[in-house]
Amino acid sequence: MRLYTPHLMEIFETRQETPDVKTLKLRFVEPQMRESFSFLAGQFGLYSAFGEGESTFCIASPPTWKDHIECTFRAVGKVTEVLRRKEAGDVIGFRGPYGNHFPLEEYRGKDLLFVVGGIALPPLRCLIWNVLDRRDEFGAVRIVYGARSVADLVYKHELDDWAARSDVELVTTVDPGGETPDWKGGIGFVPTALEQYAPPSGNGLAFVCGPPIMIKFSMPVLDKLGFAPGQIVTTLENRMKCGVGKCGRCNIGGTYVCKEGPVFTARELEALPMGSDY
């Protein structure tokens, strides 16, 4: 099978996370792929909606879940509009895994802080569950997750699971005006919630993923909390066509997000032209 030929995957379950965010649970059609497929947390794939093309998403489930992978996306474009209409029994395409990954072995014994906004939880959920499935190997697991509104929080059932665990600290928040009468979490933006929560940095790592404005205002807070640029990790997504360093469009400066990313530390990003334009 060639580089650009996707493997067929059957959707065996779907979950509507929010009005415009959906999760597809996928199994390879080829029995051999079910056996042999492996990946590392943080890697991405290109998902095919035949007739419209491919879109790039980080694999949203952890490699510790051996029997399937999950893809969570917001319907914003042509491919995702088609994927949104797919249901159990439908077949889509997948190729990957591509890109680098979170160096999990380097994180062993350390406290891990996740600072996440909106639809950015899926790429970090892979890592969160990977860590939780190997819970003894890591220090504290702290999650600050916010969205515009209660309706926009993804993986609500898992947020409840995480909140109930004694080995996870979870802070949830929604933007002012996005709360409901029975909302038990915080009200405010993620950087503010992070500042109030004020977790210690220690020797730990902070994983930050969300809209650019959230990242922009979270960075000074992390700095104040004592996280050095080498302790702050993010995962990027740019428009891609090949995923393997050839089509020429995902670069930021001389760095190809598909090959040298998508996982970067803030220290690595400091060397790149990371304004709004690059």
Binding site: G53, V76, I252, Y278
Partner: protein
């Protein structure tokens, strides 16, 4: 016996090659010379100057099918397109365009091998033709870009124009095999004795390496706005270029049946990097033009050790808005002092 080859000798050799391989060579059309398959050695334009479009489409076509899909079938089917790679001779490729092939090689073999490209590449014999004079003296700047107009080290066979004819030498085993039974003896090669003195064709008043070095630190320079003022984002520069390789992948068909195809793309296009969300990291033409220059002279060389520009000068001649890459590089060469910007 005169060791120099004549055009008749080249034709005799070409006719022999044609028996076993497709030959793609410059042929004359009313619109100028273009790269096309020939049926007869007599169709080859032996002294063709320069084609408006580089020969790269014979390795990376403008359009190709990757696979066909049929989701209505039970079970659903994906059928990969046959690798259309008949044994081919690319005949009379100037050193700038051979350097373009080297640039494609580096990208298409970077970690992941691009099979359709590789199949064509492996089946292609590159026969180079040195330039005694610059085909387009106003725009050729290969020598300034580090390409020897008289020598193409990545070719299989090197044909060098000399006084009263040509010398021919084989640079690879495949090249040597293609010359078995050749009408004339070959120049000893690739030993230096057979190598012509570095050519002077394509020498403009420009040091591309110096300009490339001077680009560092100019990323955020306001000069990009004025340098790209004329750019209309048509992508012609990428279309004619021997080393541009960016491509788009799209589906043609519906949700049941169709094909996934690959087409040439260009960083000059406004939607090239546009995200589905509406965000575009390069929302202005000046940023897209800057990307083009940085890719060719900074980003690519950092990865692969040579420029992504071979000095062929086609983009200079082809730009409908009169943008001149040589003049742009001269701006940086003349004023290397940067004004901020990480890169």
């Amino acid at each position: 016996m005169d060791l120099r080859w004549t055009v008749d000798d080249l034709k005799t050799w070409t006719s022999a090659l044609l028996r076993e391989r497709r030959i793609v060579a410059p042929v004359v059309t009313p619109a100028g010379p273009v790269w096309a398959p020939v049926r007869d050695a007599g169709e080859v334009a032996w002294d063709y100057g320069r084609t408006a479009v580089s020969p790269r489409e014979w390795l990376l076509p403008r359009h190709e099918t990757l696979f066909a899909y049929d989701l209505a079938a039970n079970p659903p089917q994906l059928v990969e397109a046959p690798l259309d790679a008949p044994p081919t001779v690319l005949l009379l490729v100037h050193p700038c365009d051979v350097a373009g092939v080297r640039a494609l090689d580096a990208v298409m073999r970077w970690d992941y091998v691009d099979e359709p490209f590789e199949a064509r590449r492996a089946g292609t014999l590159l026969v180079a033709l040195g330039c005694a004079t610059a085909p387009s003296p106003e725009s050729c700047f290969c020598a300034a870009a580090g390409v020897d107009p008289a020598w193409a080290p990545k070719a299989d066979v090197m044909i060098s124009p000399v006084e009263g004819g040509y010398t021919v030498c084989a640079l690879t085993a495949a090249g040597e095999a293609s010359l078995e039974g050749a009408p004339k003896p070959l120049t000893a090669a690739p030993a230096d004795a057979g190598r012509p003195a570095p050519g002077k064709a394509g020498t403009l008043a420009l040091d591309v390496a110096a300009a490339a070095a001077a680009l560092r630190g100019r990323f955020d320079d306001p000069v990009w706005e004025s340098l790209s003022d004329a750019c209309v984002g048509c992508g012609t520069c990428a279309y004619v270029c021997p080393s541009c390789h960016c491509f788009d992948v799209v589906d043609e068909g519906d949700w049941r049946r169709g094909e996934r195809v690959r087409n040439w793309d260009a960083c000059a296009f406004d939607h090239f990097t546009a995200h589905a969300s509406g965000h575009n990291p390069r929302p202005r033409q000046s940023l897209r033009y800057r990307q083009r220059i940085y890719h060719k002279f900074v980003y690519y060389p950092e990865k692969f050790g040579h420029l992504l520009c071979t000095g062929c000068g086609r983009c200079v001649d082809a730009c409908p808005a009169g943008m001149d890459l040589v003049e742009v590089l001269q701006v940086f060469e003349a004023a290397p002092a940067g004004q901020g910007g990480a890169r």
